[in-house]
C-alpha cells in the first residue's frame, strides 16, 4: 500500500496540470496511504485493517466501475501520456496486492502484533497470485497493442486501455463491428503519417487476399470483352495510374469523353469519376468501365459468361478467388471481381512525396523554390487551397472519421460557348445528371498528389502542361478565340468565385511548379505491390527487395 501511495503521489503533478482539485485529491490519497502504513505498524487493530481494505479494495472497485459505467466524457478524451497509463496500472496492482493481504487479516480477527506475521503468511500467496495474474494481463495487453493495431488508437478510443477494457466490459458490439469482423487478419493499410483510416463499405472489408486478387484482375486483359484491354490500359502505374492521353479509347476503338483519372488515394474520394454527386462507392463505379456501353470501355456486356469462363479455366484464379472469398461456394463471379478490384484500387495510397517528408520534419526535402511555391499555393492571393485542401489536396475528401458530407464540385471557367455559361455537350459536368443550370461545368476537384505525372489536365484533357494550368488560373478562366468551343470562360456565370485570377512572375510560376512536382511520390509509382504481376520485371523487383 505504501508503494501505491508513492505512485499516487508521483502522478499527482501530472493531474494537477489538468485540474487542480484532482491533483490535490491524489496528493491527499497518496499521503493517506503512507500515513496508514505508519498507523498500521503502530496500531494493528481491526478498525485500522478495515480502513486499509477500504482504501485499497475501494479504489480498485471504483476504477473498475469507471470502465463499466458508460460515461459521457469518454468520447472526447485527450490522448494520455503513456507513462500515466503505466503508473495507473502499477498503482492498481499494488492496491490489489495490499487488499489481498489485508482481507484475510481482517477476517481472521486476531488483533495482535504476533498475529501480524500469520496474516501475512496467509495473505502472501493470494497476493502473489493477484500480482502475477495482473502482471500477465498487463504484458498481454501491452504486446497485443503492437501485434493487433486494431486494439490501438482508433476513432473515439484514445487509449489502449479504453480500447481493450471498455468493449470487453460494456460493449462487445463495439469491437465486433470494427474491422476485425469477418477477417482472420486485419488488413494493414501502412498509412502515411497524417492520413486517417479510409472509409470502407461494410460488405467489402479489406483483406490482403482480395487486394492481391484485385491486382491480378486489374492487369488482366481477359477482363475485357475482346481481350484487348485491362484496367491498366488507361491507368498506368508509372503515370500514377493515369494514361498520358488527352482522352482514352475503349477496347472496341470508341473514344471516351473524359480524361482518364489518376488512381491516387481514391479510397478517400468523397465522390468518384469527374462529376457524379451520387457515386460514392468504388464497388459501383467499377461497374462503369467493365459493363458500360455508352461508350464501351472494357466491353464485357454480352460477354459475361465468356469472361468468367476464362478465369475459371485459368490455373491461378480458382485458388485465388477461393482464398479471397472463402465463404462463397462459387466465387468466380462479377460481384467478387468488382469487390477485389475495389480492394486493390483502395490500396493505392500515396503519401511519401518530398512534401510529406518536409511536413514530417525533414526541412531539406524541399528545394528553396518548392518552399516558395508552397507559400504561394497556400496563399489567399492564389486561392489554390480552397479546392485543393487537406492531406489529399482536394476538398472532395472523406475518411473513416468524417462526420459531414463533402461532395464538392466547381466550375473553373474552361468554357462559355453561348455567353450564358454553356460547356460542350456531353461534358457539362454535374449538369449532365441534374439538368440544373447552376451545375453547368461543375467537376470534382482531383487530388494534386502526383499531379506532375498525370498530364494532360482537366476533365477533357484540354490543358497540356502544369504551366498552362497555372496560366489558366492566373487569367481566371480560358478564352477560346475561335472554333466550335469559342467563348470567354472567364465570364462564365457559373464559374467559382475562387477562380478570380492572380498575377505571378516567371520565377513565381517556376516556384509553384516546383511545389507541385514535390507532390510526386516516387515510391508509389515504383511500388511492386501495385505493379503488373504478369510482368517478370515486376517479379524481379520484388525479389530484389
Amino acid at each position: 500500500m505504501a508503494g501505491a501511495g508513492v505512485v499516487h503521489l508521483s502522478i499527482m503533478p501530472e493531474h494537477m496540470a489538468h485540474v487542480t482539485a484532482h491533483g490535490l485529491a491524489l496528493l491527499v490519497f497518496g499521503a493517506l496511504q503512507i500515513v496508514w502504513i505508519l498507523a498500521a505498524l503502530r496500531w494493528w487493530t481491526r478498525p485500522v485493517i478495515l480502513m486499509g481494505v477500504a482504501l485499497s479494495a475501494g479504489l480498485i472497485l471504483l476504477w473498475v466501475l469507471l470502465y463499466a459505467i458508460p460515461s459521457p466524457f469518454i468520447g472526447h478524451l485527450p490522448l494520455h501520456a503513456r507513462i500515466l497509463d503505466r503508473a495507473l496500472i502499477v498503482s492498481k496492482l499494488l492496491e490489489g496486492t495490499a487488499a489481498a493481504v489485508l482481507i484475510p487479516a481482517y477476517v481472521m480477527k486476531t488483533p495482535s502484533a504476533v498475529g501480524m506475521s500469520r496474516f501475512l503468511q496467509a495473505g502472501a500467496p493470494i497476493a502473489c497470485v493477484v500480482t502475477g495474474v495482473g502482471a500477465l494481463l498487463w504484458i498481454v495487453a501491452a504486446t497485443s497493442e503492437t501485434l493487433f493495431p486494431v486494439f490501438s488508437v482508433s476513432a473515439g478510443w484514445p487509449t489502449w486501455r479504453l480500447n481493450q477494457m471498455r468493449p470487453a466490459l460494456i460493449a462487445p458490439a463495439v469491437r465486433s463491428s470494427a474491422s476485425l469482423s469477418g477477417n482472420s487478419a486485419a488488413y494493414d493499410w501502412d498509412l502515411p503519417q497524417g492520413f486517417p483510416p479510409p472509409r470502407v463499405p461494410e460488405d467489402n472489408p479489406m483483406t490482403h487476399e482480395k487486394v492481391e486478387l484485385g491486382r491480378y484482375l486489374f492487369y488482366d486483359k481477359r477482363l475485357s470483352g475482346n481481350g484487348t484491354q485491362s484496367c491498366e490500359s488507361c491507368h498506368v502505374q508509372t503515370l500514377a495510374f493515369s494514361d498520358g492521353r488527352r482522352t482514352p479509347i475503349g477496347s472496341t476503338g470508341e473514344p471516351l469523353e473524359r480524361n482518364s483519372q489518376a488512381l491516387v488515394n481514391v479510397a478517400y474520394n468523397a465522390t468518384l469519376t469527374w462529376a457524379n454527386p451520387g457515386l460514392t462507392e468504388l464497388e459501383r463505379q467499377i461497374l462503369i468501365p467493365i459493363f458500360g456501353e455508352f461508350p464501351i470501355e472494357l466491353g464485357v456486356t454480352s460477354h459475361e459468361e465468356e469472361v468468367l469462363e476464362r478465369f475459371r479455366q485459368d490455373e491461378r484464379y480458382p485458388q485465388m478467388f477461393a482464398t479471397a472469398f472463402p465463404d462463397d461456394p462459387a466465387p468466380i463471379n462479377f460481384r467478387n471481381i468488382v469487390h477485389a478490384l475495389a480492394s486493390f484500387v483502395r490500396s493505392l495510397i500515396s503519401g511519401n512525396s518530398p512534401y510529406d517528408r518536409y511536413v514530417a520534419g525533414d526541412k531539406t526535402a524541399l528545394s528553396e523554390s518548392a518552399r516558395r511555391g508552397m507559400e504561394l499555393f497556400f496563399s489567399e492571393e492564389l486561392e489554390c487551397h480552397h479546392c485543393h485542401t487537406g492531406f489529399n489536396f482536394t476538398l472532395s475528401t472523406v475518411h473513416a472519421q468524417s462526420t459531414f458530407s463533402a461532395a464538392a464540385f466547381q466550375n473553373n471557367g474552361l468554357y462559355n460557348l453561348d455567353s450564358a455559361g454553356a460547356y460542350p455537350r456531353g461534358n457539362r459536368g454535374v449538369y449532365e445528371l441534374t439538368g440544373k443550370p447552376e451545375d453547368m461545368g461543375r467537376f470534382r476537384p482531383p487530388t494534386l498528389r502526383n499531379v506532375a505525372l498525370t498530364a494532360p489536365y482537366m476533365h477533357d484533357g484540354s490543358i497540356a502542361t502544369l504551366e498552362e494550368v497555372i496560366q489558366h488560373y492566373m487569367a481566371g478562366g480560358r478564352v477560346i478565340e475561335e472554333g466550335p468551343f469559342a467563348g470567354d470562360g472567364r465570364r462564365n456565370p457559373y464559374k467559382s468565385g475562387l477562380v478570380s485570377g492572380f498575377q505571378l512572375n516567371e520565377q513565381e510560376i517556376a516556384d509553384l511548379i516546383a511545389f507541385l512536382e514535390s507532390l510526386t511520390d516516387e515510391s508509389f509509382v515504383t511500388d511492386p505491390r501495385f505493379s503488373n504481376p504478369f510482368e517478370e520485371k515486376a517479379l524481379d523487383q520484388i525479389a530484389d527487395r
Binding site: 499516487h8 489538468h18 485540474v19 482539485a21 484532482h22 485529491a25 491524489l26 490519497f29 478498525p47 478495515l50 480502513m51 477500504a54 482504501l55 475501494g58 479504489l59 471504483l62 476504477w63 469507471l66 460515461s71 466524457f73 468520447g75 472526447h76 478524451l77 485527450p78 494520455h80 495507473l88 473515439g156 497524417g194 486517417p196 518536409y358 511536413v359 508552397m374 507559400e375 497556400f378 489567399e380 492571393e381 486561392e383 487551397h385 485542401t389 487537406g390 476538398l395 475528401t397 475518411h399 472519421q401 462526420t403 459531414f404 458530407s405 463533402a406 461532395a407 464538392a408 464540385f409 454535374v430 447552376e438 461543375r442 465570364r491 467559382s496 468565385g497 475562387l498 478570380s500 485570377g501
Partner: protein, 306 residues
C-alpha cells in the same frame, strides 16, 4: 467506533472517486453547476427580415445597393455565457454531440449545399446550440435572463489543429485554412455585382499574423491579430428569443459592387481594402490590432436578438 470506521471508509471511497476523476475527464471544467438545466439556444441567418437561403437573390445590399446571392454561410462560436439581471454570468456547457459541438466550440451552418452552396457546402445544417446551464441563470423566481455573450471564433488552443484529425465540427476542410492560420471563424461567400471579381465577394473571418516556420506548422504563441469578435446581446430571454445573424446589416456599410481581386472580398487580410470598412463597421473589430474596436465589440452589426 463502528460509525467511525464507516465514516472513514466512506471518506476514503470519496477520495478514491476523486482520484479516479482525472482519468475520466481531465478537460472538464471544474465548476459544478447548481441544478444544471438543459438549454437550447436558437440561431437564425437572415437578410434583413428574410430567411437567408442558398440560391435566392437578395436586392439592395451594402452601400452600393447590390443584388446578392449567398454561396456559403457558416460560422463557429465559442465561450457561450448567459447573464441574468442580478449580473450573474454562467457558462453554457455544450453537449458534446460528436458532430456540431466540441469542447466550448459550436458550428452553426445555414447552407444546405444546394444551388451556389454546392461548391463547398455540406447538406447538413445546424441552427442552434445545446448544452446545460445552472438553473438559477434563467429560471430563478426573482431574476430575469438579460443577455447572452459569446465569441465569434475558435479559441487559440483549438484553432491550429490538423483538420484531418480534429474532432467534429473542427474537421471541415472548407472551414480551415492551414495549421498556421487555423479555421475560418466565419465563412460568408457572396455573389454580387462586383465586376472586377466576376461577382465574387467572400467574407472569411479568421486570425492573422500567426507566426510559425511555414503554413504547414502551427504557431506556438497566439496570433498577432486574433480577430475574435466578442458578442454581447441584451434583452435575450433564452426561452423566447433567437439570435439572428444578419448578412444585410453585416455588409451595410460596404460597397459590394467593388472588390479588389487577390482575394475577392475580405479574407481578413490586414491590408486588404475590402476589409477596411467591413471589419470595423460589420464585425466591430480594429483591423490593425485584431481586437475589438471598442471594449466588448459593441459596434458589431452581424448579430442581433429577435
Amino acid at each position: 467506533m463502528r460509525i467511525h470506521i464507516f465514516a472513514s471508509a466512506a471518506l476514503i471511497c470519496m477520495l478514491g472517486l476523486a482520484a479516479c476523476q482525472p482519468i475520466q475527464a481531465p478537460t472538464e471544467p471544474s465548476t459544478t453547476l447548481d441544478k444544471p438545466q438543459p438549454v437550447a439556444i436558437n440561431f437564425a441567418m437572415k437578410v434583413r427580415d428574410r430567411e437567408a437561403r442558398c440560391g435566392e437573390v437578395y436586392e439592395g445590399l451594402g452601400a452600393s445597393g447590390s443584388p446578392v446571392e449567398i454561396n456559403d454561410m457558416r460560422f463557429y462560436i465559442s465561450n457561450v455565457r448567459l447573464v441574468n439581471d442580478k449580473g450573474a454570468e454562467t457558462p453554457v456547457e455544450l453537449e458534446q454531440d460528436g458532430l456540431w459541438q466540441v469542447e466550448n466550440v459550436a458550428l452553426l451552418d445555414f447552407e444546405d449545399a444546394t444551388a451556389g452552396c454546392a461548391e463547398t457546402g455540406t447538406p447538413e445544417m445546424n441552427v442552434g446550440i445545446r448544452g446545460i446551464v445552472a438553473e438559477q441563470t434563467f429560471v430563478c423566481p426573482e431574476c430575469e435572463p438579460t443577455a447572452i455573450l459569446f465569441d465569434l471564433g475558435v479559441p487559440f488552443d483549438l484553432n491550429h489543429l490538423d483538420v484531418t484529425a480534429a474532432p467534429s465540427p473542427l474537421n471541415i476542410p472548407a472551414m480551415w485554412w492551414n495549421w498556421q492560420i487555423g479555421y475560418k471563424f466565419a465563412r460568408i461567400d457572396l455573389k454580387t455585382d462586383a465586376a472586377a471579381t466576376e461577382g465574387a465577394w467572400f467574407i472569411h473571418l479568421g486570425s492573422t499574423g500567426c507566426s510559425s516556420s511555414d503554413k504547414n506548422t502551427p504557431p506556438e504563441k497566439p496570433c498577432m491579430r486574433p480577430n475574435v469578435v466578442s458578442v454581447r446581446l441584451d434583452n435575450f430571454d433564452v426561452t423566447k428569443k433567437v439570435v439572428v445573424a444578419d448578412i444585410a446589416s453585416l455588409v451595410a456599410a460596404v460597397d459590394l459592387s467593388e472588390s479588389t481581386p487577390q482575394p475577392a472580398g475580405c479574407m481578413s487580410g490586414p491590408d486588404d481594402p475590402d476589409c477596411a470598412i467591413l471589419f470595423p463597421a460589420g464585425f466591430g473589430l480594429d483591423i490593425a490590432t485584431g481586437a475589438c474596436a471598442e471594449e466588448g465589440c459593441p459596434t458589431q452589426r452581424f448579430f442581433r436578438v429577435e
